[in-house]
Amino acid sequence: MAKRLEGKVALITGGTSGIGAGTVRRLSAEGAKVAFTGSKAEAAAALCAETGASFHAHRVQDAEGWPALMQTLRDSYGRLDIVFANAGIEAGDASVEDVSLEAWNNIIAVNQTGVMLTIKHGLAAMRANPEGATGSIIVNSSMNAHRAMGNFVGYSVTKLAVLALMKSTAVHCAAQGYKIRCNAILPGVVETDLIRGVINRAPDPEAARAQFNAMAPMKRMAQVEEIAGLVAYLASDEASFISGSEYLIDGATNAGAMGV
């Protein structure tokens, strides 16, 4: 593995499974020191043992917990170069007719306010870097930001909202003269453990898998490693002129209709 991230410190929210865990592995392999958050302590311990990353039990929507988390990171690492605002949920989501106010508020708390808090605190830490304000912030949105789902209103709304948050952050940082870039990735369906569970629990797992595969013109789901590769690129100095951008990684799903 090329070591493009040697000497950099990364924070990944929601790092215990799925895209987050894949990114903990990839950024570690590229030489970064990685800290990640989440709530699944057992999975986290195994990932720490495997990668040398550190785990900090914290939920992104816990506003009061952020200062203590950042203090711990400052004490342990002394700097922050990469933030991957990855944590997100869809629990309780439904159509606009059916969604409960509680589920809606909860999804907004994690997917939208949680990302804002991640950026806010990450930015403050990056500004405190010894050589001045430097770093790369990457927001995990979704291809569904531009392809709203009727039965996931909270998810669709929040994933579009964080694109405006990302752009506002990018323009703000640039205007302030910070060398801090901010971009978003918009993945299609990724074959995470979560999706594998959905497939395996379906009455006909083979049919369920075929259905997921058929959603992209490429006729397959993305692998976690493929998403982590894009995050690594945006995190690296190779992406030094990239800020305020949306990066689809969806096997051509949003490029248009599949045709006949």
Binding site: V171, K219, G244
Partner: protein, 268 residues
Amino acid sequence: MMQRLEGRVALVSGGLRGIGLAIAERYVAEGAKVVLLDLDAEDSAAPREVLDKLGSAASYFRANVAEEADWQRVSDAVKDRHGKLHILVNNAGTDLTGPVESLSMESWRRIMSINVDGVFLGTKHFVPMMAACGGDFKGGASIINISSIMGLVGYSEVSAYNASKGAVRLFTKGIAIEFATKKMPIRANSIHPGFVMTPLMQAGFQRWVDKGFASDPQALVDTMAATTPVGRLGDPSEIAGAAFFLASEDSSYVTGAEIVVDGGWTAQ
């Protein structure tokens, strides 16, 4: 540096200068064999200088991307020399500015023939070869079309260039879906550079100075930098970084996408 394009063959049109040259340099540094196309005669100074710098991994053919016969000749030559093509960078392009009512039909046809026909013809003539060898590497073969931020948004007195780069953006999405649904091992994406310091940009600046829009080219550079959120122009190597990502197996699920590298310009 680890060589992540070892064993691959790439073609870069407009490869002697600016963004095309930066991409060719990066691909050679990553271990690829690179075929360059441009308009300079094959025994002239510019290709000699570039080939001296890039070494035996690079070769050069004179070709006008707007001429189908040139593409036929180049694809035959690439087949003879390498037998394969894994990475096609349709980079050659030209610009045209001015009030829309002042543009001649001839100048409109010229920019379309280079910026749009050139991308179509390059794709058409290399797809069979790329489909045949796309399975050599994870992520398959990769077509990388250089569009522009001017292919995403309009700009005063840039209408013809806007139209040509917008065409590249959607042509790319069309072929991306076509290849994906047919399970052909070729991905296709567009790169949208913002203001990047290249010879084409410098020539454009000089034209604006000659027209009296600015006192000197540096004033225009300063203006462009000021309207770009990160406060500077891009360097060709920063576009090459994106072209390398799209060529490498790291981008194996990226197809039909727009890769914007603009220092925040379109985020505003």
